[in-house]
């Protein structure tokens, strides 16, 4: 289950020189064509094996969306064939064709049925869908009152309510907010682990690289590269950079001024974000808001304990959008002793470090445990949240570097 075989697929749209040309073509008994075939895809062949994750990249107009539409069966190929084995759930563009006058709930039923679910299944999945979309009372409001982000939330929730054999996602996620993007990527990853075949279209080579083993680069309706994701993305990025260099010779002056203004604002220490869950609360401090790469970041975690513990430890972790753990440690592994706590007592630990993360959004993991031993194991795990909160890091003074963490090398020139 979950195989896609695309063989020699081509798609041409008919272009008529005038409105009347089509009528003339239809009525002409000799059957002489009066249109020009405009090919948007030609000779596209590839196979996606069950369980494989394939990312498709390409500039606007390269034929990515048309290819996905052909694979989902929304449009017919002009030549060639597509064979799909398994149930497809596809998120093409925005909103899955929701009907604006009907409520989110009614639209969920419609969309669910088109995804091959029956009414009973949808009724059963409804609480799950509502919970995942997190749009609250809006579920019973007409979809026309939704923001585009809310539509995507609902669309993604329906499309992924039941694990499909093949999941096809077309840029849709870029509309949702950062928090929801994280949530979606988490779900996509978990589907992948369970064996769902993934076909992912994105403008972001990084997302493709982290999510997919294989990459396909489309250009002018043809497959230019079909190889492991990393090399295809590097090739794509290099070709994009060349385009950028040609298009924008200079950085505009207004950008520079804006940069200076924000530098001036970075003085006092202020609270970036805070959140409490149960007895655990977390505050992030930084000298300025927003947080820039290279700024000093303080993560203060305080926990109120409901029992007496002899050796409590608090830890945190940082994870990027792709779920890659960049750092994870706790007071025990850092060989920092804490103190014993009584029931009802609060323990507060702060971690301060220069946050030299690549600009982007990150998830903060928070964990609390008791009685450490060995290489960082604990007798008791008291609290763990792998996505406690999400924060954003903006570009700092260092420009144009790549990777996960700015290692700030010292440079010697001789």
């Amino acid at each position: 289950m979950g195989q896609i075989v695309v063989s020699n697929v081509g798609k041409a749209y008919k272009r008529y020189p005038s409105r009347w040309a089509r009528l003339r073509e239809w009525l002409d008994p000799t059957g002489q064509p009066r249109h020009q075939a405009h090919w948007v895809l030609r000779g596209v062949s590839f196979t996606v094996e069950p369980g494989e994750a394939v990312g498709i990249v390409g500039t606007n107009g390269a034929g990515k969306s048309t290819l996905l539409k052909i694979i989902t069966g929304t449009t017919q190929p002009t030549e060639g064939t597509v064979t799909v084995v398994g149930r497809i759930a596809a998120l093409l563009e925005l909103g899955m064709g929701f009907h604006p006058d009907f409520t989110g709930r009614q639209n969920v039923f419609m969309a669910g049925q088109l995804l091959g679910l029956n009414a009973n299944e949808i009724t059963q999945l409804m609480p799950e869908i509502e919970a995942f979309a997190e749009i609250g009372d809006y579920i019973d409001q007409p979809v026309r009152t939704y923001s585009s982000g809310m539509q995507v939330r609902l669309a993604f929730s329906v499309a992924t309510a039941k694990r499909p054999d093949i999941l096809i996602v077309d840029e849709a996620l870029s509309v949702g907010d950062v928090y929801f993007q994280h949530k979606c990527l988490l779900r996509i990853r978990s589907f992948k682990e369970k064996g769902t075949t993934l076909l992912f279209v994105s403008h972001s080579p990084d997302t493709v690289r982290m999510l997919c083993q294989r990459g396909i680069l489309l250009e002018g309706g043809m497959v230019i590269k079909n190889a492991d994701a990393a090399s295809v993305m590097d090739y794509y990025r290099a070709s994009q950079v060349r385009r950028c260099e040609l298009a924008t010779p200079d950085k505009s002056t207004s950008d520079l001024e804006e940069g200076e203004a924000s530098l001036a604002g970075r003085q006092s220490k202020s609270v970036l974000t805070r959140k409490s869950v149960g007895g655990v609360s977390v505050e992030l401090f930084s000298p300025s808001i927003p947080l820039h790469s290279g700024d000093l970041l303080t993560i203060q975690i305080s926990a109120v304990f409901n029992e007496t513990y002899a050796d409590p430890h608090i830890g945190f972790g940082l994870r990027n959008k792709m779920g890659i753990v960049i750092y994870e440690a706790n007071t025990y592994t850092l060989r920092h002793s804490t103190r014993s706590v009584q029931a009802g007592e609060q323990l507060k630990v702060s971690f301060t470090f220069p946050c030299r993360l690549l600009p982007g959004t990150y998830e903060l993991m928070v964990g609390i445990a008791n009685d450490g031993y060995d290489q960082g194991s604990f007798e008791q795990s008291l609290f763990f949240d792998q996505s406690y909160l999400i924060f954003e890091v903006l570009a700092g003074d260092h420009i144009g570097w790549g990777g996960l963490w700015d290692i700030e090398p010292e440079i010697a020139v001789s």
Partner: protein, 267 residues
């Protein structure tokens, strides 16, 4: 063979079709306080108004029915309500692919669901109207008796004709948007060229000879016969329409199947 595949996939999508029919029906009444009650109130007012005006105030006389107070109302409604169903069905079907364009572009499902959805929705409206009409006939002691059994048969011919014409215009309208505008104009003329609010007998002889060209005329005449005169329809006059309607339906079906793949590219 291909028809068998089509019908099977339509059956698989019955949940989607029914949900959309319900939605089409409710659509007219969303955001209204009385909701579906309007579906009953609208035709009810129509029947009441025609009855009050023509039975109570204007009192036109129909030949041979001088003693029946409600004769003209019955005659009028027999044609008007069925013509209404025909015009409603064709009118809704011609724009269906454009109306659902957003959905067609984003999901994969048998496109033949769509004309079926609006046709069924139009049928529901008609069923309500017809129930009221039959109730009115019962209340005024004008119920045609056994003859009423001929009605479904005649209506079936009308249904085939309406579906065929609707599917044809719906398909063509995607490629030539003029078709949708044209249908509206044609239906207006067609209505007045058919003896619905007037009786065929008032037409001059020369015009009456041309009525056989109008495929709706034998249907309307049959309805008027059933409900006003309580007579069985003249089946021989209906055979031509029946065969023609079936041929049209098959032709439209073939055209639709041929162009179904291209529809999404034109929206």
């Amino acid at each position: 063979m291909i028809q068998a595949v089509m019908f099977r996939s339509l059956w698989e999508y019955r949940g989607f079709i029914l949900a959309n029919v319900r939605r089409e029906f409710r659509q007219r009444y969303t955001n209204s306080l009385l909701g579906g009650l309007w579906a009953v109130l609208n035709p009810l007012t129509m029947i009441v108004i025609y009855t009050v005006i023509f039975a109570g105030i204007m009192r036109p006389r129909l030949a041979g029915q001088e003693d029946n107070l409600f004769a003209y109302s019955i005659f009028l409604c027999a044609g008007l309500l069925t013509w209404g169903a025909f015009a409603d069905m064709v009118g809704r079907m011609q724009g269906v692919f454009i109306q659902y364009g957003n959905l067609i572009k984003k999901s994969n499902f048998p496109r033949s669901c769509l004309p079926l959805i609006v046709a069924l929705a139009a049928l529901i409206d008609f069923a309500i109207v017809m129930t009221l009409y039959l109730a009115f006939l019962l209340v005024t002691c004008n119920f045609p008796g056994w003859v009423v059994l001929a009605f479904p048969a005649v209506f079936l011919i009308q249904l085939a004709f309406g579906l065929g014409l609707g599917l044809l215009t719906a398909t063509l309208n995607v490629f030539f948007r003029d078709v949708g505008q044209f249908v509206g104009v044609v239906l207006q003329f067609w209505f007045w060229l058919t003896p619905i609010i007037y009786s065929a007998s008032i037409l001059p002889e020369t015009l009456r000879d041309w009525l056989w060209l109008n495929p709706v005329y034998p249907l309307m005449a049959a309805y008027q016969g059933i409900f006003l005169h309580h007579v069985w329809p003249d089946w021989s006059s209906l055979i031509g329409v029946a065969i023609g309607s079936l041929a049209l339906l098959l032709l439209s079906g073939r055209l639709f199947l041929k162009l179904a793949g291209e529809i999404v590219d034109e929206l």
